[in-house]
Symmetry: C2
Subunit: 351 residues, 2 copies
């Protein structure tokens, strides 16, 4: 797919903070997961990409985005290493818990080019493993050193509330119609994304600083920056879900459209007062799943009605808002510089 | 079923602390649940027995055992009302979370004479609701007043670790054989019960006191007492699962035996060096489900091999150990008196 966002030109290589973040966080993450009961421990190692379903070590694992954000958020306020690492470990555990349970709720059989955890181990065991990761996140944070663990656990509680609120809305959106008074509005969708995606990236940036006792002003600025980054990434993921290259995304062409998933480009297109929007509404009306030809026509109409432009504009707008939050600080300039470079790299790479 | 434990004669009426506990805790519990997203809120109200699946208010709800234990544990150390209530609310939320997710993991379709939550709402929504209750428990505790919230969250984290460890073992026991080197041993079963059942009753007694800053000695004594009560209740429940009156338990006659569930009377019977134990082993060998006649013969053999006596002796032993822990205190005598009366009432009522 063609880059169209007008964001900065991507760097030739991934920012080194992606490697640095993993190097600093992964030992503590492995130690925490290693303390679990052997069975959920093995399932969690699979979910984290460290091994195959049968326990064979694997070279996988995520890109390390949240670890990198945690390291940079911590460096931005001069947090001590232990606070950065404890915060990053807690965020990674909550993130993995939420993916594992989300896949159960959505019935998704694939995750990161492999089987999802419930598909590999069964629904009950996957639920148990997610619960164990959730509990481990709380335990990691509550057991962290320093005098701000209470504030950090309260912060994480608020994040979990937002995350689960967003997940509840996302599940409810599935059964709502594309048109009429019950249709999902763009503003509702954006609120759902702020909860489901934004809260966790905000937590990645801000949790270490909370644990280190950073000022509310700096914590709030990092939180806002993280929410905007989450909204920007989600808008780009939504574009990829319709027009992304299946080779890269690992998902079928027009996959989100065929499943009838409510995403920003489609909702924005439907909200436009254009003939293309009305044709799109008629096309989506009969319900899911769409056949390949209908999905292709729908994708064309979404683009014609301005849905793709709207989503890409939203990504640019949120990325700029994140930069403004980071300029507000005061933060260590080098960390802010790396954060901006990282977010631009990630957005360009996705587009 | 005939009372056979030799515990104290049951009171004519339930101890008044069961009502007192609910009266003091339920308003805060309802306020906490009322703060959830409307969808998980409605599902949680069903799981707590406050409404039917369609939202119609119901007069149900649990017996209030954990609330009563929390009130008495708090009174035993002179904890302030806010600490008692916050601890009790957190325990009740964690308990409900664990029941809801357990029913998903075990595939149990009935709970308290009604459909289980996943049966009523679907697996995904039930998982979501459980997650929301779990997060709410942490939030309740982390947001409680006083200077001991960090210690209280750490305490709850340890409880969750034990609870999920026990649940993992319980699930794994299902696929292990009745005999041979892979058979579940009585000691393993007792360790599983200490985690899955004991940890939560221990938490009910001790969490409010931790939140109120009670001394480690008193917290440890309450924790031990709670673990023993949990083991005693579970031993009696195990007896009821084989010989209980279906009218009272709401479960089919010989239900646990027919499903091949590993429980104390059966494991203790199989461990006995008697002909009845060997006949029982042969009967259980072919696997589940057992037909009605086989289950009746198996129940007879469990009794003949001493399994029922062993479970009832374990219940008496653990109840006595709980009383000794409470005598160790120092605790407010009236609270200890009520705790002993409550536990005897509950054990006799079950037997």
């Amino acid at each position: 797919m063609t880059p169209r966002t007008g964001l900065a030109v991507p760097a030739a290589a991934p920012p080194r903070v992606l490697v640095r973040g993993r190097e600093r966080v992964e030992p503590a993450l492995r130690a925490a997961v290693g303390s679990l009961h052997p069975w959920p421990r093995r399932m969690a190692s699979f979910a984290l990409g460290w091994c195959d379903a049968d326990g064979t070590p694997a070279a996988g694992g995520g890109k390390g985005v949240r670890q990198a954000l945690a390291v940079l958020g911590g460096e931005a306020v001069g947090a001590p290493e232990e606070a950065i690492v404890a915060g990053a470990v807690a965020v990674e555990l909550v993130h993995t818990f939420s993916l594992v349970h989300d896949d159960v709720m959505d019935g998704d059989e694939r995750r990161r080019h492999r089987e999802s955890a419930w598909k590999a181990f069964g629904t009950g065991p996957a639920v148990l493993m997610g619960d164990a990761l959730f509990a481990l996140a709380v335990e990691t944070l509550a057991g962290a050193e320093g005098g701000h663990t209470g504030a950090a656990v309260r912060h994480l509680s608020g994040v979990l509330r937002d995350l689960l609120h967003g997940q509840a809305d996302d599940l409810l959106f599935e059964s709502r119609p594309w048109a009429g008074p019950e249709a999902v509005r763009v503003a509702e969708y954006e609120a759902m994304v702020a909860g489901k995606t934004g809260s966790l990236l905000a937590c990645a940036l801000a949790l270490g600083p909370v644990l280190a006792g950073a000022s509310p002003r700096r914590v709030d600025a990092l939180t806002e920056a993280g929410r905007h980054l989450g909204a920007a990434f989600q808008a780009v993921d939504d574009v990829l879900g319709v027009w992304g290259d299946p080779e890269v995304t690992g998902k079928p062409v027009h996959g989100d459209l065929r499943r009838g998933k409510k995403t920003l480009p489609v909702l924005a297109a439907l909200a436009a007062p254009t003939p293309a929007a009305r044709s799109l509404q008629a096309l989506l009306g009969p319900g899911v799943p769409l056949d390949a030809g209908t999905a292709r026509r729908a994708a064309g109409l979404v683009e014609e009605a301005g849905g793709r432009d709207a989503a890409e504009a939203a990504a640019r707008r949120h990325a700029a808002a994140a930069r403004r939050c980071l300029a507000d600080g005061p933060f260590a300039p080098e960390a802010v510089h790396e954060l901006v470079a990282l977010s631009e790299f990630l957005l360009e790479r996705r587009l």
